[in-house]
């Protein structure tokens, strides 16, 4: 085999195994040069009235800044450049653009409907897919600064994933329950879907299919090549494995529960999912039993390899840029648990003020360009 062919094969293998960073509408994993970037973790605190965005220096795990952004921040999304971050505010109905080099809010837009949720953005930073609880996604053109399309699904607009190639957007509506519908003024849909909606971004944001998943969709994550998706669903303490090309569930992982765990939370679901260790592992949370699991996903069905006690109500989980550190946000105990993927050991716990409820996170490799104007 020629050296050039070998390098192509190696590059393809690497791209197919590199994991993505997180659950809940995070951007893809794009390799970066640590010398030219500053790795920072952005943490939303849904219960904090002020200082509800915490920025953590990942190498030292020290808080470097706290900012006040729109109330009840929810979605977090960044393009490949990672020099900007879009955060939606459930309470205000806005999306804020943050310059991650300076860590300043540079723009705020409204008009995204009732309770904007977990968004995602195309790798080139052009189109932001912003779901609303009202059951639709707004496609926001960040250059024109206007909504250029609306995509309606069944259910309540909630999670979004865009593949690293910028080809497909996956929309994950919540099924909803009487708690959502008790606010009739919001007009939330009661269609209760068990499916993921697939949109072709390159075909003018057209819906091109659905993936049946058997129950209400919950946090998802895609591999870097966009071929495989792992996702939580309602009433499953574990996760599904989906072949995105076939638009089909191909396997299912379930937690090995103790008898007492089986006797509580029978209707619970796992929440928060991340790919780690060069795509070989998937980590996900058992919110009810305050545990986080690691699975080997090189085999099907995935094999449980570790189980960790964490803080109360672990709900969101993201890996570091190299996929070798895992951050688990535990809003019930206002803390974040940090794991070393290689040793499968807890590294540290970061505490937040009581009642802040650290929730959704994104880990970014922010370019070191102090004079750069934001996009």
């Amino acid at each position: 085999m020629k050296l050039r062919d070998l390098s192509v094969v190696l590059a393809l293998a690497a791209s197919s195994t590199l994991g993505l960073r997180a659950q809940n509408a995070q951007v893809s994993y794009w390799p970066h040069d640590p010398g030219t970037t500053h790795e920072k973790l952005y943490v939303n605190s849904q219960g904090a009235p002020i200082n509800n965005l915490t920025i953590i220096d990942v190498p030292t795990l020290k808080v470097i800044k706290k900012m006040t952004i729109g109330a009840e921040p929810h979605g977090v999304a960044a393009p490949r450049s990672q020099d900007v971050l879009y955060i939606s505010s459930m309470h205000d109905g806005t999306v804020q653009k943050i310059d991650t080099v300076k860590d300043e809010i540079v723009k705020v837009w409204g008009g995204f409907g009732v309770e904007p949720e977990e968004n995602d953005i195309t790798p080139d930073g052009r189109f932001l897919y912003q779901p609303s609880y009202a059951g639709y996604w707004s496609v926001f053109d960040t250059q024109k600064e206007e909504i250029v399309a609306y995509i309606h699904t069944l259910g309540i607009g909630h999670n979004t994933l865009i593949d690293a190639q910028g080809h497909f957007a996956y929309l994950f509506p919540l099924k909803g329950d009487p708690g959502h519908w008790r606010r009739p003024s919001l007009g939330l849909p009661r269609t209760m879907p068990n499916e993921v909606t697939v949109v072709d971004i390159t075909k003018n944001h057209q819906v091109v299919g659905t993936i049946p998943v058997g129950d209400g969709p919950r946090p998802p994550i895609l591999t870097a090549d966009g071929k495989r998706m792992y996702m939580n669903v309602d009433r499953l303490l574990g996760f599904l494995v989906i072949d995105t090309a076939a638009r089909k569930v191909i396997s299912k992982a379930t937690f090995e529960l103790t008898p007492d765990e089986q006797a509580s939370g029978a209707n619970a679901h796992a929440h928060g999912i991340a790919i780690a260790n060069n795509g070989k592992e998937v980590w996900t949370n058992d919110t009810v039993h305050n545990t986080t699991y690691a699975f080997d996903v090189t085999v099907l069905p995935p094999k449980q390899i570790a189980k960790f006690p964490v803080g109360r109500g672990p709900y969101w989980i993201v890996p570091s840029q190299d996929g070798m550190t895992i951050f688990v946000a535990c809003p019930g105990s206002d803390e974040m648990v940090v794991f070393d993927v290689a040793t499968k050991k807890e590294k540290t716990r970061l505490t937040f003020p009581a009642g802040d409820r650290p929730t959704r996170m994104i880990d970014l490799a922010v370019p070191i360009r102090p004079q750069m104007a934001s996009k």
Binding site: P49, P178, G179, P259, A266, R312, G332
Partner: protein, 177 residues
């Protein structure tokens, strides 16, 4: 004509009757016996808002979709006001009915003041996951947030020889948690 009026009137009465029955049924939840009663010393709940945690167990009946399934429920017993009788005691399941996260009792005045959901500053249960708020003074009644109802209640059976006995749980708890 008279017969049509009579039938119409009868149907109307039937409709009202059904509605009244449904409201009555929903207002008085059924209770289900625990496998073993929970017994807690009365003097451990002599201080208002001091919680005593417990784990209760029930086994689903043969008529349920999963007969014989064992169900464990985390609860707390606490006193709302001072006094020796059981009327000031609350025993609640601390699992949020929304997505089954655990709720916490908040008594800190500064935190209570931050909650915009209610003018009342009495202690409240708050769900860490999605922020549902429940009134600790009113047996965990729903105040705000995505939970579809208040916290599930245990029944305090009575106080015997300085011991509080908890013997039943709201039936709906078993199909949710």
């Amino acid at each position: 004509m008279l017969r049509r009026r009579f039938i119409g009137f009868a149907l109307m009465l039937l409709g009202y009757g059904r509605r009244a029955w449904a409201q009555l049924a929903s207002a008085t939840p059924g209770y289900y016996p625990l496998t073993h009663p929970i017994r807690i010393a009365l003097d451990t709940v002599s201080t208002p808002w001091r919680q005593v945690p417990f784990v209760a167990e029930a086994v689903l009946p043969q008529t349920s979709p999963t007969p014989g399934r064992r169900v464990l429920m985390n609860g707390v017993l606490y006193r709302r006001e001072t006094g020796d009788d059981s009327s000031a005691l609350s025993a609640l399941c601390v699992t949020c009915p929304h997505e089954l996260c655990q709720v916490d009792l908040v008594t800190d005045e500064a935190r209570l003041a931050r909650m915009s959901d209610s003018d009342k500053k009495n202690p409240k249960f708050v769900c860490g996951c999605h922020g549902s708020v429940f009134d600790a003074l009113d047996d965990g009644a729903w105040i705000s947030g995505p939970a579809y109802r208040g916290l599930f209640n245990f029944r305090v059976g009575g106080i015997t020889a300085g011991t509080v006995e908890i013997d039943e749980v709201e039936e709906e708890t078993l199909s949710v948690v």
